[in-house]
């Protein structure tokens, strides 16, 4: 079947079987391999992309459902020149290690902050709890998203006092 939709602002048309998932279509047909597949049943969130503004699991979405839709993948979050503010915040806070879950974290957080730039730390944690990360323990990811809020029109970032007078100390105290 032929399906036509927009990916990262550009119109695409591709031939898929009815059973082809959006993740497979993006990765194989369109060679957008930034969208990662970690579980194929909607639990890990690595494959999250943004469809018409909503964060969507591309492993649980069929490609043919995308007819006429506007899809944003991790490749569409920034241009050649620079990282997006959200990506730069991830880098500053060491919010990624192996990088496999990162595209899903970025798309999920981008969709959230685009709708809710003032999202509280609790709200951010709740939304990100649908995405698994095995490397970071989540604290730096949550911190990076808090830091990025300002770029979406949300509050300025206030790093809490690292405290403890120690080199390399950091704290995860309640905000």
């Amino acid at each position: 079947m032929k399906v036509s939709f927009k990916v990262n602002g550009k119109p695409v048309a591709t031939e898929v079987e009815p059973r082809t998932t959006l993740s497979l279509c993006l990765r194989d047909n369109l060679r957008l391999t930034g969208t990662h597949v970690g579980c194929e049943h909607g639990v890990c969130g690595a494959c999250t992309v943004i469809v018409d503004g909503d964060a969507v699991r591309s492993c649980l979405t069929l490609a043919v459902q995308m007819e006429g839709c506007d899809v944003v993948t991790v490749e569409g979050l920034s241009d050649e020149a620079a990282l997006s503010p959200l990506q730069a915040a991830f880098r500053r806070h060491n919010a990624l290690q192996c990088g496999f879950c990162t595209p899903g974290m970025l798309t999920t957080a981008h969709a959230l902050l685009s709708e809710e730039p003032n999202a509280s730390v609790e709200r951010i944690r709740e939304v990100l709890s649908g995405n698994l990360c095995r490397c970071t323990g989540y604290l730096p990811i949550v911190e990076a998203v808090l830091d990025a809020r300002a770029a979406y029109g949300g509050p300025a970032y206030q790093p809490a006092d690292a405290g403890h007078g120690a080199s390399h100390a950091s704290a995860g105290a309640a905000r």
Binding site: V74, F90, Y138
Partner: protein, 781 residues
């Protein structure tokens, strides 16, 4: 809450002073954040076919035959490969997986066949490989394969394994592969003079490392040169290249393992998995590139599981709280095969019951028991997480029994700087290459303990112990740990000046997501005296060096970094010698300033000019038969809801002395990430098999990992008080410390909170249902 923000510099800005010690942002992030990494499944080759594995659905059976006639006739199917094709000749045996770590001769009969040939020993064992035009067609064909098997009684736990009623391997008389025993001092004398002996039985559940990227292999057969290139290598490409080539009957130089981006390891990628042979074999068989990507269920079944054991342990105390000795026995459920690293957990369990303490007498036996579960291997802090919990629970319980403060008992027994180098118990049998002697390199284990108590405000939180606030029981706990790292024997590096004067550095270390390009780039830039942006660092792939070792045992920064320092010294000397000819002075007189070489008379030549006529290429190596020992302590404040069994972490602090932190930002990430992984094992994660040897927890909805809402309150402090004397960086391997101590400190804190009921957590996980049950049972008693 914050990540440490001082010193954050883009890698392109040369700092004032050395790169090492700075929180540099990562080089690799620029591609990973844009979705431009190259993980195994991102490799796509022209003409590539797709493989799917037929896996056993039963745990134990005799395999009579695999009939693939119908599957082979299906459209789009290029080949179905079974043990018959792999063995080659009638009666021939398929290759078996060699042990990489602790390669003991007695393991020979227990080695894993690369494909089930006449016996099936676990659910998920490979029976056949289908190669087809697409994955969907390959999976369809799996269903057309006829398997004839005769069920055998499953050996589903270590007890039935130890009974030896059903033997799992031919030519053996027992399912006990080997017993590791640690000995030190006079154990009978120590227990003879004890005023109190604390005796406990511990049970640790089976856990799965769960890398977010599943395993995958893409093999490319090069018909022109009769070579195979394998993508998807991680952690130990050189060992796996040798192993795969030997099994394929090819020269080592005819097989290359290429490392791309790797989506996590946590120890589990350090194996040689059968697919590392099966997929290249299939590619050669069909003379086309073949891709195989594990799905999540396959990954949970076949990637190294770990930790499952039961132990009886005793600790002997003198009246003043001196720990006189420890002894006991552990039974480790290794699942079906030892594979390459399976012996590490049972060996470490024997070794480390003494943890960070000056305990003169030790006798501890750790039995390796094979069962019909998925094969076990190494998982972040193998054996150490387990023994640290045993030791720290015994101290808390023993101290209370003799009426002493557990904190005082720890103070009395912790290894101090005066005790260095502290010798651990010796373990038999030991691998042939090992000297058998293990000693701590440097440190003062009491200083991190004191620092932890102070920063945690232990004294201030004393009043919380057992207190009920808002219906929840509050408790505090503390535990110490040591973290071995930097395993030998060697690591290699090569530095090359290209024809344009640019500097490329190759190292045998591998990246599994820990930011290796950045941390080793910092070390290299300092050693070469050039900006990080002026050098390219390439790692892992077997095309770069004749020999490399990789990343395991928290070794890559120390071993790879030290090899780079050696190579950099040789490189600078080679540049001085080459430049001296042009500068008309002695080599020793040449001064290197960045990428310029200058003579005493002020003449200079750039690397770019020099490279037009000179080829400079040097190799460096770092050999080490001793380990580094980072160490520390952690404290936790928990609140337990006795009505639900839920435990909330109110505060958690870990303090670790790592000798020297190359990149504090990345190290901090390792400690916090490792802590959350440990919390998963303490509270959530449980790889369950039923009595038939069936894996029950086959999805990520069943095997529960921590999420962003679970553990938001964590702190970590890194100290650099005692640099390692055994490497030029002074760093100690430090990727596992966060994980090691978690179960111990949580169990102590939960026991403290529930002291009024006498709840004694000696088994994991402390899931809400299990803890609730323990509370109910204790209340009823």
């Amino acid at each position: 809450m914050n990540a440490p923000v001082p010193d954050l510099l883009p890698e392109s800005t040369p700092p004032d002073g050395p790169y090492v010690g700075r929180s540099m942002q990562r080089v690799e992030d620029l591609r990973l954040l844009r979705g431009r990494g190259t993980y195994a499944d991102d490799v796509a080759l022209p003409g590539m076919l797709h493989a799917a594995m037929l896996r056993s659905s039963v745990a134990h059976a005799r395999l009579r035959s695999v009939d693939a006639t119908a599957a082979r006739a299906m459209p789009g199917v290029h080949a179905v490969i079974t043990a018959t094709e792999i063995a080659g000749a009638p009666g021939a045996k398929v290759p078996t997986v060699p042990l990489r770590l602790q390669p003991l001769a007695c393991m020979e009969p227990y080695r894993q066949p690369v494909i089930a040939q006449d016996r099936i020993r676990h659910v998920g064992e490979v029976l056949a490989i289908v190669v087809a035009d697409s994955l969907a067609l390959a999976e369809d064909a799996l269903e057309a394969i006829e398997v004839d098997l005769e069920s055998l009684p499953p050996v589903a736990d270590w007890r039935s394994s130890a009974a030896d009623q059903t033997l799992l391997f031919d030519n053996t008389s027992t399912n006990r592969g080997v017993t590791f025993t640690a000995r030190r001092g006079d154990i009978d004398a120590a227990f003879g003079k004890a005023t109190h002996v604390q005796r406990e039985r511990f049970t640790i559940q089976r856990q799965a490392p769960v890398t977010m990227e599943t395993r995958g292999v893409v093999a490319d057969w090069d018909a022109v040169n009769s070579r195979i290139v394998v993508y998807g290598a991680a952690k130990v490409p050189y060992f796996n290249r040798r192993t795969s080539a030997d099994m394929l009957g090819m020269k080592h130089s005819e097989v290359d393992f290429i490392e791309g981006d790797t989506g996590g390891s946590f120890g589990a990628r350090g194996e040689f998995y059968v697919e590392d042979f099966l997929v290249p074999f299939a590619a050669r068989h069909v003379r086309r590139p073949v891709k195989w990507i594990s799905d999540r269920r396959e990954d949970l079944m076949t990637m190294a599981q770990s930790r499952e054991c039961e132990a009886e342990a005793e600790m002997a105390f003198a009246a003043d709280g001196t720990i006189l000795g420890v002894r006991g026995t552990a039974w480790c459920d290794l699942g079906a095969y030892p594979r390459t690293n399976g012996l590490i957990q049972p060996r470490n369990i024997a070794h480390f019951l003494t943890n960070a303490y000056r305990i003169e007498a030790v006798e501890f036996a750790s039995h390796v028991q094979f069962t019909n579960k998925g094969p076990a291997g190494t998982y972040r802090a193998p054996g150490r997480s387990e023994t640290t919990m045993f030791c720290e629970r015994l101290i808390d319980l023993g101290a209370r029994a003799i009426g002493l403060d557990p904190v005082e008992v720890r103070r009395r027994n912790l290894v101090t700087a005066d005790d260095m180098p502290w010798h651990f118990a010796s373990v038999t049998p030991s691998e042939p290459a090992s000297t058998g002697v293990t000693e701590a390199d440097s440190g003062d284990y009491r200083s991190t303990f004191e620092r932890c108590l102070t920063e945690f405000d232990w004294a201030g939180k004393q009043a919380l112990q057992g207190k009920r606030i808002d219906g929840r029981h509050h408790g505090i706990g503390v535990a110490c740990f040591i973290e071995g790292g930097a395993a030998g024997p060697r690591e290699n590096a090569k530095i090359e000046m290209a024809s344009d004067g640019s500097v490329t550095l190759y190292v045998g270390s591998t990246s599994v997501g820990q930011g290796l390009e950045t941390s080793l780039g910092q070390i290299a830039a300092d050693a070469l005296g050039i900006p990080m942006s002026a050098l390219t660092l390439l790692h892992g792939s077997t095309t770069y060096l004749s020999e490399g070792f990789g990343s395991y045992h928290s070794r890559s920064t120390v071993m790879g970094g030290s090899a780079i320092i050696d190579a950099a010294g040789k490189f600078k000397q080679a540049v001085r010698e080459a430049a001296a000819v042009y500068l008309e002075c002695l080599a020793d007189q040449v001064v290197l300033e960045g990428t310029q070489a200058r003579s005493p008379r002020g003449r200079s030549i750039s690397f770019a000019e020099l490279a037009r006529s000179e080829k400079i290429i040097v190799e460096g190596t770092f050999a080490n038969h001793h380990h580094t020992w980072a160490y520390g302590a952690a404290a936790a404040h928990v609140a337990v809801d006795a009505r639900t069994g839920h435990v909330a972490i109110v505060d958690y602090l870990v303090v670790e002395d790592v000798g020297r932190a190359v990149n504090p930002l990345l190290l901090h990430g390792q400690v916090i990430g490792g802590t959350v992984q440990g919390l998963g094992g303490a509270f959530l994660e449980d790889m369950i098999y039923d009595a038939e040897g069936q894996m029950i927890t086959g999805t990520l909805a069943d095997y529960l990992l921590p999420t962003a809402t679970d553990f938001p309150q964590l702190r970590a402090i890194t100290l650099e008080e005692y640099p390692s004397p055994i490497n030029p960086i002074g760093a100690k391997g430090a990727g596992e410390g966060g994980t090691i101590v978690v179960a111990a400190v949580i169990a102590n804190a939960v026991a403290n909170a529930l002291a009024e009921y006498g709840v004694n957590p000696t088994s994991l996980p402390l899931s809400p249902s299990k803890l609730w049950q323990m509370i109910e049972t204790a209340r009823a008693a």
